[in-house]
């Protein structure tokens, strides 16, 4: 199933993102970012279902939470998506 990975700068930021999304009814899961998705090593990501991206990003923006990167997971591969 396709999904998005919202890469966060720290476990705390990922948890905050997860908390905000859960509060808005968006199911999510926090986990360590796969190697190669970040240039700086060691980060956490929040995984959400594909249909929820626009709403999720709007919630994060409203709360001044700026993710590091965003990836779409499709057919077993990650594709970086530009953060607007």
């Amino acid at each position: 199933m396709n999904h998005y990975l919202i890469v966060c700068r720290s476990v705390t930021q990922a948890q905050r993102a997860g908390y905000l999304l859960s509060a808005a009814g968006i199911t999510n899961r926090i986990f360590r970012s796969p190697v190669g998705l970040t240039e700086r090593g060691c980060s956490y990501s929040v995984r959400i279902g594909e249909p929820y991206l626009a709403r999720a990003m709007e919630i994060l923006r409203q709360n001044s939470l700026q993710p590091v990167k965003l990836f779409l997971h499709r057919d077993g591969q990650y594709f970086e998506v530009a953060l607007s």
Partner: protein, 372 residues
Amino acid sequence: MIYFDAAATTFQKPRTVKDTVRAAMDSMSSPGRGNYPTAALAAKTLFQCRMELGELFGVENPEQVVFTSSATHGLNIAIRSLVRPGGRVVVSGYEHNAVTRVLHAIEGLTIYVVNTPLFDAPAMVRGFEELVTPDTDAVICTHVSNVFGYLLPVEEIAGVCRRHRVPLILDASQSAGCIPIDQRTLGAAFIAMPGHKGLYGPQGTGVLLCGEEGEPLLYGGTGSSSQDQQMPGFLPDRMEAGTHNVPGIAGLLAGLRFVRTTGLAAIRHHGTRLKDQLLTALEGEERYQVFGSHDAALQTGVLSLVPRDGDPETLCEYLSAKGIALRGGLHCAPYAHRTAGTLDTGTTRFSVSAFNRPDEVERLIEALKKYK
């Protein structure tokens, strides 16, 4: 033992604090180092603690809540972030060595001290208005004197800082968990507090609320941005190098929940009621000089006294022999004693927690009346 040294550490903790610390040691490892169950539970606990601290202290974002080992640790971070060698700071005359020793270690710093009488809030505000200038590096102010329980007019002092655009560092060591504090309303750059006093957490815990990013005091691993050889440029990681005191923070969360459930107003009222009980009983006693106010807006559940014949340390020894624990001496706050005129003697300090009772105060009063 009857324990009246809560201003040093609240010795009696809620049962949940002890249970939580023990449970954390059995179930939690290090946050930010993995996502296996013990690491994930540790991370969840720390985040929950940041959230609930943020809610209690008016912090907008839980990332601004930094865990420290003590209030002293937090004050060191705050002062080292804002105060430069050769700079200028203004402090109250009631500061603890956790502030003043840090300042004295900064080369060429000019320290202006607002020396105003005990329980005279308007005079203190005027003192800050006279000394704070736009080129002041920082104002550093305790919220409540650890020696005298004097509740300083920090809202007004914060207003002086905002007018001059000077950052405020608040030492909330004696007020956190007792007096309402709102970081956003105060506009404080940093607020430091211990976890082991009014928040009823274990020793070795502390919190720094950050209105600014600041500079790290310790450098090391954070579990983030690991390829960078500089500390991360974001909170809380920037200030939290090394492994967290996870069982301690879990205990702090339990203590914090006790405070929130009991209520700040109830805790404060309980403390001032017990302090007033002692103050009233000693007002007619010629043998003691007592530093108290019946105005609840000016004093918390901390009271100092000096025996006119004898010294405060010997009085504490006498009380200890009767199973009553009070602290004597300078309480690591020579500035406060210099301001109040007790630097040569020190004081005997009475300080209460939510677990003290009126009958315990009565026992202390009886012992003080029999003291020769």
